[in-house]
């Protein structure tokens, strides 16, 4: 039982998270375990997590996408551009924004799956292209977005900000889909053994293209959400997001070679990173020490994970 738990990253990371949170609560009883602090942590990682769910999907299928950060920026800027300069109504602009994200995903997916372009270079190139386009449409950034657009990310439900709800919904829906539908389970086959998946009657190319599209769509949604939260669209949004998200997803149990990972792992990975950053600030670590300590903690966590796995699988 215990070794089963410790071999599933979702549980082992969950355990680490809870332990860390408990200890921190004891050390900083007045500042850490407050409703405001937790809801703020969640709010700040909502964007990352939504993108991470798409990235988890890609990693399960054995691919990854470096252009998600740029997609976040482009979709936000493009939607704002339509609303601000052309007075396009909010719902229409949202649809257009999401559509543009979808097209980017389609391009990536088509070139990678059907034309066999190296995914690393394809998505890296797309990252540059889309970032350039975001600068092109938004210039200095676009302010004064419509009230209803801002309301998407700035409203609250039951005292909790909407982005948190969106994040939980995304994680919930995709967890369900990945556990229960044939369509999404195919990604485990593709990531586990692409050739075998093909021989099992799975249209691998098509599914891979869809994966990039879904991931881009989620990144697009995150971009809209972020500019709605900011009340402005900035072309610099989502910079460095790709590496942050891939880190979170791998922490959450995925591998670069594919076939492994669970959707809740994306949330847990992001939560872990958010929690560590929060604790470091609370314990007054600042400046370059933050990066150093974050790095050490990441390594230590993975090392612990491997250590426990070894220990408990030896016993079993």
């Amino acid at each position: 039982m215990i070794n089963k738990i410790l071999q599933d990253r979702v549980y082992s990371l969950g355990l680490v998270l809870v332990t860390t949170a408990l200890i921190t609560s004891l050390v900083f009883p007045s500042t850490f375990p407050t409703f405001e602090n937790f809801s703020q942590i969640l709010l700040n990682l909502s964007i990352d997590t939504i993108v991470a769910v798409g990235m988890m999907l890609l990693l399960i299928s054995g691919a990854f996408d470096l252009s998600v950060g740029s997609i976040v920026a482009f979709t936000g800027c493009f939607t704002a551009y339509l609303m601000h300069f052309f007075n396009i109504p909010v719902p229409l602009a949202l649809a257009a924004g999401m559509l543009s994200a979808l097209c980017i995903g389609l391009t990536n997916g088509y070139l990678i799956a059907y034309q066999n372009i190296n995914p690393m270079i394809q998505t890296l190139a797309m990252m540059g292209i889309i970032r350039g386009c975001a600068l092109l449409v938004s210039g200095a950034g676009i302010q004064n977005l419509p009230y209803w657009f801002n309301a998407i990310g700035q409203s609250k439900l039951l005292g909790i900000q909407m982005p948190i709800w969106y994040m939980l919904a995304t994680v919930g829906i995709f967890t369900f889909l990945f556990n229960k539908t044939i369509f999404f389970r195919r990604y485990y086959y593709i990531g586990g053994n692409e050739k075998a998946a093909d021989l099992s009657g799975i249209h691998v190319r098509k599914m891979k293209m869809f994966a990039f599209m879904i991931s881009a769509l989620l990144a697009g949604f995150a971009g809209i959400l972020l500019s709605s939260r900011l009340g402005a669209a900035l072309p610099t949004m989502g910079r460095g997001l790709e590496l942050r998200v891939i880190t979170a997803v791998i922490l959450g149990g995925a591998t670069l070679t594919g076939g492994y990972g669970k959707i809740p792992g994306a949330l847990l990975g992001a939560l872990f990173m958010g929690l560590i950053a929060n604790i470091m600030v609370i314990s007054r670590i600042s400046g370059y020490w933050q990066e150093i300590i974050l790095g050490l903690i990441l390594i230590a966590t993975l090392w612990l994970d491997k250590y426990l796995q070894r220990k408990y699988s030896a016993i079993s």
């Binding site: 086959y189 053994n193 998946a197």
Partner: protein
């Protein structure tokens, strides 16, 4: 009208014509065997029939309609199922999900019903007599033979009307083979057409109704099994007479390797010894732990207790490199994952394990590598266009030869071979037996793990039987018989 007609099929690969104008037909409800040497084009033909490859020329007729499959999915739609020669399972998923890949049972909302999935899987596993595997087990935890079973279950789960089996019994013992044959006969009664490829000729005569023979990509004819004699079949396949196996034992009394009471994960208290000049068989059911014992001796897995003497000196390999240095070699059974560098050339594969021996200076000598591997290619009669061909493009049997060549190049004193004739044609098998005999005559010792009992009985000086990780007995001539071994093993 025949159920399936393959008409004038031609397939060219860079450097080889794998199929040359092959035409044959398969009747409804027959078991049709396909025979031929390694590289004759059997797998290629079946890959074409299952939509995995497209022919350059020619067509497939199913019940009279001309079909063209551009991918496996289209062949599925026509109820064609295939068990591939190279296993194609997903390690990270459970047995149940592998068997019902992409066709998991769902309710009317499209939601996967895992209970039904596991239930249907256990029924299938029961049918195949492998109840010891749970539907929830990860495929990564199965032994090669068990995987092969799962692969067969996967094909059966589709309830195919056309079933293709490409060397399904290569790592099976008698027990599994019999189960499989029962199932195939039931399917045949139900009207399914079965195409069966195997290098175990006994099986073919037990099972097949008709036999088609391929040689160098050309169809040599189709015969009724009852009218064909084994020798005729061999002559048609190989195109030459096989030499009789060299008789007689070269066993000496000099011990070379002594294994004393070793235990490790999945085996315990194993003791035996190997003498110079002898070939010792290691028999057992699949999953008995034979491979594990070999792995531990060779330094891949840890030995928890016990002692090994090699050349009368204590021997403890903490890594295969140490074992190789002491002149020990281990030919793995899983050539795809552990044996070969699939994307590399034949030449690079052959020299892989002996680089420090053949190039003592530490510098890579290309011409020497070329010459050595050319020698090996001739010695093993590999069907390959040239040495720079990538191993992944070789036929199964030729891949096996590459692996053997690689290990023999290390000039081992003790050679452990795990399923050495896995997927090798009858001609090549005799060549390998001959090579093993020669090695033994040179004073080497050979430990041979095989699931093919006749092979062990024919070749070995004695047979050690393993059951559930322990040595349960040893059979030596004169009463080295099939029943004796099986009785000990079960």
């Amino acid at each position: 009208m025949p159920h399936i007609v393959l008409s004038h099929i031609t397939k060219q690969f860079p450097g080889v014509k794998a199929l040359d104008d092959v035409s044959m037909s398969i009747e409804q409800g027959e078991i049709h065997a396909l025979c031929g040497e390694n590289g004759a084009g059997k797998s290629t033909l079946m890959n074409i029939l299952s939509g995995n490859l497209q022919p350059d020329n020619g067509g497939i007729f199913l019940d009279g309609t001309n079909l063209r499959f551009s991918n496996p999915q289209q062949a599925f739609a026509h109820n064609i199922a295939i068990v591939y020669q190279h296993l194609s399972l997903v390690d990270s998923l459970s047995v149940a999900e592998n068997i019902f890949a992409n066709q998991q049972p769902v309710n009317k909302w499209g939601i996967i019903q895992f209970d039904a999935l596991n239930h249907q899987t256990s029924l299938l596993l029961k049918q195949l007599n492998i109840e010891e595997i749970s539907p929830r087990t990860l495929v990564a935890e199965l032994s090669p033979a068990q995987r092969q079973m799962v692969e067969i279950a996967k094909a059966l789960s589709k309830q195919p009307s056309i079933l293709i089996l490409d060397e399904p019994t290569a790592s099976f013992t008698d027990k599994e083979t019999r189960t499989l044959f029962d199932i195939l006969k039931t399917l045949k009664k139900g009207g399914a057409s079965i195409i069966y490829i195997s290098h175990r000729l006994e099986e073919i005569f037990v099972l097949a109704d008709r036999i088609s023979i391929l040689k160098d990509g050309k169809h040599q004819g189709t015969f009724n099994a009852s009218e064909l004699k084994k020798d005729e079949l061999i002559t048609k396949m190989v195109g030459r007479e096989l030499k009789a196996l060299r008789a007689g034992s070269t066993r000496t009394t000099e011990t070379l390797l002594v294994v004393k009471n070793i235990s490790g994960s999945r085996f315990s208290n194993v003791s035996f010894s190997l003498h110079q000049g002898e070939i010792v068989g290691l028999a057992g059911l699949i999953g008995a732990g034979r491979s594990e014992i070999a792995r531990a001796i060779f330094g891949i897995d840890k030995i928890r207790s016990g002692e090994i003497l090699f050349h009368d000196k204590p021997f403890h390999a903490d890594h295969p490199a140490a074992a190789i240095r002491e002149r020990m070699a281990y030919v793995t059974e899983d050539r795809k994952n552990q044996g070969l560098f699939q994307e590399m050339t034949i030449e690079e594969n052959i020299v892989a394990a002996s680089l420090p021996f053949v190039m003592k200076s530490g510098f890579y000598d290309r011409s020497k590598a070329r010459q050595i591997s050319a020698d090996s290619k001739n010695r093993f009669r590999m069907a390959a266009s040239d040495l720079q061909q990538r191993v992944i493009n070789l036929s199964g049997g030729n891949q096996q030869k590459v692996m053997l060549a690689k290990w023999l190049l290390t000039q081992p004193d003790v050679l452990i071979i795990d399923e050495p004739t896995h997927g090798i044609d009858i001609g090549a098998k005799y060549e390998i037996y001959e090579i093993l005999k020669t090695l033994a005559a040179e004073g080497k010792a050979i430990l041979m793990i095989s699931s093919e009992l006749p092979e062990l009985l024919g070749l070995c000086d004695r047979i050690i039987v393993v059951k559930k990780g322990t040595v349960v007995g040893e059979v030596v001539p004169p009463d080295m018989t099939e029943e004796k071994v099986i009785r000990l093993a079960t």
